[in-house]
């Protein structure tokens, strides 16, 4: 027999209060759940003001679009670890910014072709350097969307180089070997006359590539065949050993990304290969050395070839598991449309992937790239951030003449990314300069490693070549 349970006064109050609260808050909760979100992860930019600008821009963009935008920042050295974790969890940010071509993540990211086409329709062509860093010709997939690249010039101390008869700094790699002993002789307090890293870090990766390319060697050819083992690469390695003897000490074997900046600003070195970050830091900290830092383009090799990597390249990827891919794409398009602000917020550190995005809105599309390039040349020729002399940054405006992509003369691809991420080239140079291996041994060792990496990615159908691989 069931007994009908009667509701007492207390239960009545509880129930009605609960029901009223549910009715009142329900729409709020529903609205909250329906609120679109966009999660962005990128590096802690070396110019703090850029992050301030970007975070505000993203917030304001979200407010205008009715999207809740979150921007998280991490150190550049931790980007790959974080990306691996997000892929493993199949969960994370909608937009993930890499600082070198993320070829190894190609299977995990959306094709950006529509976005690139639309950006080109609005601002004119993407520069070739960025295209070759974000497009895989084998799969015909745009595995990233680049908004910027950062030039990697040589930074030198003018007073020191003037004393040894080279007031305009070095022009060739051989100049470094010539200058090293002279700087040591004139300035014994400068412990590392030539501050180029040969350790497992970003700057060393870029510097050793610049050396290899300028000696007409490369990891792969234009058709993605592994051609590292060559007379040219051997010459580059032997040169690296001479350079080490002439102007370096073992400190360069344990350098991190900040070491060359610190060494230059403390006048412990007279030449580094870096972005303008060391110089801007000196300026910001009002160090007297700032006025003594000048820039040169990439150095020429023995046959006049002159190449350097970009220092970093901002490349956004949208994961396949991203929750808001459309919002992410729209955000990137709108970001490109505001790129003059971005360049200024970065104190001329970020150079645009779409030069036309720097042009005034009123400029016709066909003239935008030239107008944007002109604006950048003017900005670097008359630095608005207090350079002395104001045209000090002019050499970096020529970066597109001597900056090339990781993977040169071929495209960036997953194999090149893995070679980059596993620091094969800096290790190869370090093996020689420490005497651990002879140059031919180190070259052969690196070549075999590279071949294994390429074969792995070819088996996955993401890299071409193979028929022309050297033994």
């Amino acid at each position: 027999m069931t007994q009908r349970k009667r509701m007492d006064r207390r239960e009545f109050v509880k129930t009605t209060t609960g029901a009223t609260a549910a009715v009142a808050l329900g729409p709020t909760i529903l609205r909250r759940r329906q609120q679109k979100t966009l999660k962005i992860l990128q590096w802690s930019h070396f110019v703090p003001a850029y992050d301030v600008w970007f975070d505000k821009y993203a917030k304001d963009w979200g407010t205008a679009k009715g999207i809740e935008v979150t921007v998280d920042h991490i150190s550049l050295a931790d980007l790959t670890t974080r990306a691996n974790a997000e892929v493993a969890a199949q969960q994370g940010h909608d937009l993930f910014q890499f600082l070198s071509p993320p070829g190894a993540f190609e299977p995990q990211v959306l094709d950006m072709v529509d976005l690139v086409r639309e950006a080109e329709r609005q601002h004119g062509p993407l520069i070739d350097l960025c295209k070759r860093s974000t497009y895989n010709p084998v799969t015909r997939k745009w595995f990233g969307f680049s908004d910027n690249y950062v030039p990697d010039p040589g930074d030198y101390l003018k007073s020191v180089w003037t004393e040894i008869g080279m007031p305009d700094g070095p022009a060739t790699w051989e100049d470094l070997v010539t200058a090293g002993p002279q700087i040591k002789a004139k300035h014994p307090e400068i412990q590392i006359p030539i501050g180029i890293g040969m350790s497992q870090e970003l700057d060393s990766n870029m510097a050793t590539r610049a050396m290899l390319w300028s000696f007409d060697g490369s990891i792969q050819d234009a058709n993605e065949n592994v051609v590292l083992k060559s007379d040219q690469a051997l010459a580059a390695l032997q040169f690296g050993a001479r350079l080490f003897q002439a102007g370096m000490n073992p400190a360069v074997l344990s350098w991190n990304a900040a070491s060359n900046n610190q060494a230059l600003n403390a006048r412990q070195t007279a030449y580094i290969l870096n972005s303008i970050s060391a110089y801007r830091t000196a300026q910001d900290n009002k160090l007297p050395v700032a006025d003594d830092i000048f820039f040169v383009p990439a150095l020429k090799g023995p046959r006049g070839t002159r190449w350097a990597s970009e220092h970093v390249m901002g490349i956004y990827a949208i994961w396949k598991f991203a929750l808001s891919p459309d919002a992410a794409k729209q955000f990137l398009l709108d970001l490109i449309a505001h790129y003059r602000d971005a360049v200024m917020a970065s104190k001329l550190y970020n150079f645009p992937a779409y030069p036309g995005s720097l042009a005034e809105a009123s400029v016709p599309l066909a003239q935008k790239p030239a107008a944007g390039t002109r604006w950048l040349e003017q900005a670097t020729a008359n630095d608005p951030f207090g350079s002395n002399p104001p045209n000090k940054l002019r050499p970096i405006s020529t970066a597109l003449q001597w900056a090339t992509n990781i993977g040169h003369p071929g495209p960036a691809n997953p194999a090149e990314s893995e070679v980059f991420d596993t620091f094969v080239l800096p290790t190869m140079f370090a093996n020689v300069v420490t005497g651990r291996m002879t140059a031919p041994q180190a070259l052969d060792d690196a070549h075999q490693q590279v071949k294994r990496i390429f074969e792995k990615w070819r088996a996955r159908g993401l890299v071409a070549g193979g028929a022309g691989d050297r033994a």
Partner: protein, 278 residues
Amino acid sequence: MKRVALYAAALGFIAFAGFPFYWMLLTAFKQNRDLYVGAFDTQHVPWIFNDPPTLEHLRLLFGQTDFLSWVWNTLVVVVAVVVITVAVAVPAGYSLARLSGRWGESLGMGIFFTYLIPPTLLFIPFARLVSLLGLQDSLGALILIYPTMTIPFCTWLVMGFLRSVPWEIEEQAMIDGYSRLAVILKVAPRLIVPGILTVVVFTFTLVMQEFVYALTFISSVDKMTVSLGVPIALVRGDVYHWGALMAAALVTSIPLAIVYNLFIDRFIQGFTMGAVKG
């Protein structure tokens, strides 16, 4: 003469131990132009203030970063992980040392070996687990994962410690009428207080300095721990903000140093007692 040598050695050790703190203190208050000094300036003395001290780095640390939130988050995680570790490792260590006979020793070593697996190998499978549980980007992820590092080592530590405590004391308690459970809850903890304190300090230290898992599981700046937030905010690209970094290191290491010094005798006892064959 012997006494002079003793004092000299002690002073040497004090200087060795205290120098990092002095260096942090100095760097935290030095002006940047005093930190980055040219090699040309041979008059500059690096271990003193050559220019007047500045609060600029502290202003950066406390005014332009979420440092206090990171300290709070770290404390929350530390307390939770310490509680979990003690609650699991002490009974586990006791069981393995006292109740499982010959198998206990081997099992204890087996558990200890899991501690030796580096986080760089484990973070990917853990990422999947954390995602599955919906704990991504929350302190809960760290509270879940950190005990997997601390419990194996602490269990082994407690086991070693218990080996040095005579079993007869607990046996006597049981003769006097205590049940096994009562012995575990009331008698054993009193016998292994130094061991438990060692577990606490060890866990505290490990959690304070952990980086890889924090990086993997936490992405929101306001949810970061000190070990993650500080390098992310103060190492910008290839530029290190040394003054603020040293200030952060100083502020967080002082409490740790105090904890260590308060319990130093028991801590040493905790680590060394198990090493003596009973």
